[in-house]
């Protein structure tokens, strides 16, 4: 038995959170101000978007709640029509920018998260299959990934988006935009997961614990899921975190270019696109505040991802 004070039984009964707090990664988190700051900001933004209904003065998606007379109210002034106070100003429709930003961030984060999950599931499955099965299947999957990586992600997303638009009936466009955006962004990012997972799988499948599982007759699929996947999962988490920031930016880019979320359910990118029309006529707040929100979201997620990558990399400890 070890000389440590904790008896094993007590260790097993301690909460998961307490153990995580005491772990190497927990320590690294506690001692990194950047990680704490980034995590706190991300958490605040996520909570604010989840509970947007309760902390905003109006629903910016509800046309009936808007007063056109409030249009272009500068930040910190009361609207001419409703007399409502606009902390971050109002846009041309009399929409409160603060409410629009929170609702828009929710759309952006939802699409970002959904597309990350989509590309993660797709990329990890294909990478596992390529690495574990090998042979022609591997060559096929990895060549497709190579081809895809030679195009900019935004181009792939535009292409997928365009094809989907052509296939879906125009009357369904607005309802389907969310799903189409998710798939378009997800499809443009899977190759990175596939490459990483394949590389780690090639290493893991040569280890004897995989042989031990095969000796007792386990087939390829259970071996991949039960044995290989848990051992290649570390890097996936890091890529997913960093990709979340990229996916949010990609969504904003698509919406800014006018192929993404429609003005009736604006994301941050849509808000920025609307805002840039008024920049030179002096209504700077319509552009500035959504842009700041986007930068804050992307930066805090990215900084958190950077920290996570360093914390999980034993060579940098």
């Amino acid at each position: 038995m070890s000389v440590l004070a904790q008896p094993p039984a007590a260790q097993a009964h301690r909460g998961l959170l307490a153990r995580a707090w005491d772990s190497d990664i927990g320590y690294s988190f506690r001692t990194s101000p950047v990680a704490i700051g980034a995590a706190a900001i991300t958490l605040v933004i996520v909570l604010a978007t989840v509970f947007a209904e309760f902390i905003t003065p109006q629903n910016p998606f509800d046309a009936a709640a808007l007063n056109l007379m409030d249009g272009f109210t500068p930040p910190g002034e009361a609207g001419a029509g409703s007399g409502m106070y606009f902390g971050l100003g109002a846009d041309s429709q009399g929409r409160d920018m603060y409410s629009a930003i929170l609702y828009g961030s929710r759309v952006s984060l939802l699409i970002g998260t959904a597309s990350v999950i989509f590309s993660l599931v797709l990329g990890v499955s294909l990478g596992l299959i390529a690495g574990y099965i090998g042979g022609r299947i591997e060559a096929l999957i990895m060549r497709i990934a190579d081809i895809q990586l030679s195009f900019p992600a935004i181009l792939v997303a535009l292409l997928v988006f365009g094809i989907a638009r052509g296939l879906i009936h125009p009357s369904l466009h607005e309802q389907m935009t969310f799903a189409v955006m998710t798939i378009a962004i997800g499809l443009s990012n899977w190759a990175q997961y596939a490459r990483t997972v394949r590389a780690s799988t090639l290493v893991e499948k040569r280890k004897e614990y995989v042989d031990a599982a095969r000796v007792i007759g386990l087939r390829a699929f259970p071996v991949m899921i039960k044995h290989v996947l848990p051992n290649v999962a570390g890097p996936i988490l890091v890529i997913a975190t960093i990709n979340l920031a990229l996916a949010v930016l990609e969504e904003a880019t698509l919406s800014f270019l006018g192929v993404g979320m429609p003005p009736t359910q604006p994301s941050l990118g849509t808000l920025i696109r609307i805002g840039q029309q008024f920049l030179f006529s002096g209504e700077w707040w319509i552009l500035l505040f959504p842009s700041l929100a986007l930068v804050t979201i992307a930066l805090s997620i990215n900084l958190f991802g950077d920290w996570l990558r360093d914390a999980l990399n034993p060579k940098l400890r």
């Binding site: 094993p8 039984a9 004897e208 042989d211 031990a212 599982a213 000796v215 007792i216 848990p230």
Partner: protein, 346 residues
Amino acid sequence: MSTAIVEQPNEVFAGTAGPLVKVDHLTCVFDVSRPWLERTLAGAPKQMLTAVADLSFEIARRETFALVGESGSGKSTVARMVVGLLSPTAGQVTIDGVSMSDPRLAAAREKLRRRIQMIFQDPFASLNPRWRVDRIVAEPIRAFGITRNDAEVEARVSELLKLVRLDPADGRKYPHEFSGGQRQRIAIARALSANPEFIVCDEPTSALDVSVQAQILNLMRDLQDRLGLTYLFISHNLAVVRHMATRIGVMYLGRLVEVAPARDIFAHPRHPYTRMLLDAVPDLAMAGRQRKPVDGETPNPIAPPPGCPFHPRCPFAAERCRTERPHAIVTGSVSVACHAVEEGRI
């Protein structure tokens, strides 16, 4: 320690006649060519590596058959073919009358799997680092559906951990919390959990400290006596093999050059390669015996030398050895493939 597992030597099968494991003309050829496109552009031919060539041996019930040889002699390849991790290019492995490669016998082979287990070389790689020890040990029990009852599985796991002299409470820990010797005992517990009768041990002690090696070997012998196990024991260490084996097969470049009972090999090594291996063992008992130093390394198995594969390093090589491949000559319980021995030159 009287428990259900310990009291189950494999009496049922011990009565059946014939050897438990029969290896017939086993051959394994790997394609080590460069990728097709590169090969075509360079105009290079396919490159085939013969890891195991025309290997035959039998293992009787409850004996330990050891395969020895240098690195690259194909020992591990044989082990992997015997447990079915690798399919042979030619020849076959028959365990208790069931061929391991016949597609018609798939159902019988599934049943057979439960009776075969493997212990691996590197205890730091053979246990899944993300699994707790109790789950690792229980995996074969669950995979073979021996019992679905969680309490029963738990009881068996703690029994098995006690059997390999570990604390049943250790089941809640992860593999990285153990030393190499303890990990190898966990691997042994896993191998025993489905009540196998035949265990293939691929260099089970070569990754361990010398002091721990003896511990593991004694445990394995002890378990063999108690559970009636049959071992195929792969090793490059003759001292270890001497402690364990009933019979020994010496491999060189994918071929068996000599098969003999353990005592005979150490007392009267016949094949020049066996002599060389024995001479390399620093052993007080052998001091004073004339040593014939043999230089050189194992030849490239992609282009093995013609005739006897050992002739470039053999001090007794004659013209015939350079051209004609020697076949195994069986005299009593000993089988040697060497022209010099056959002709009585040595």
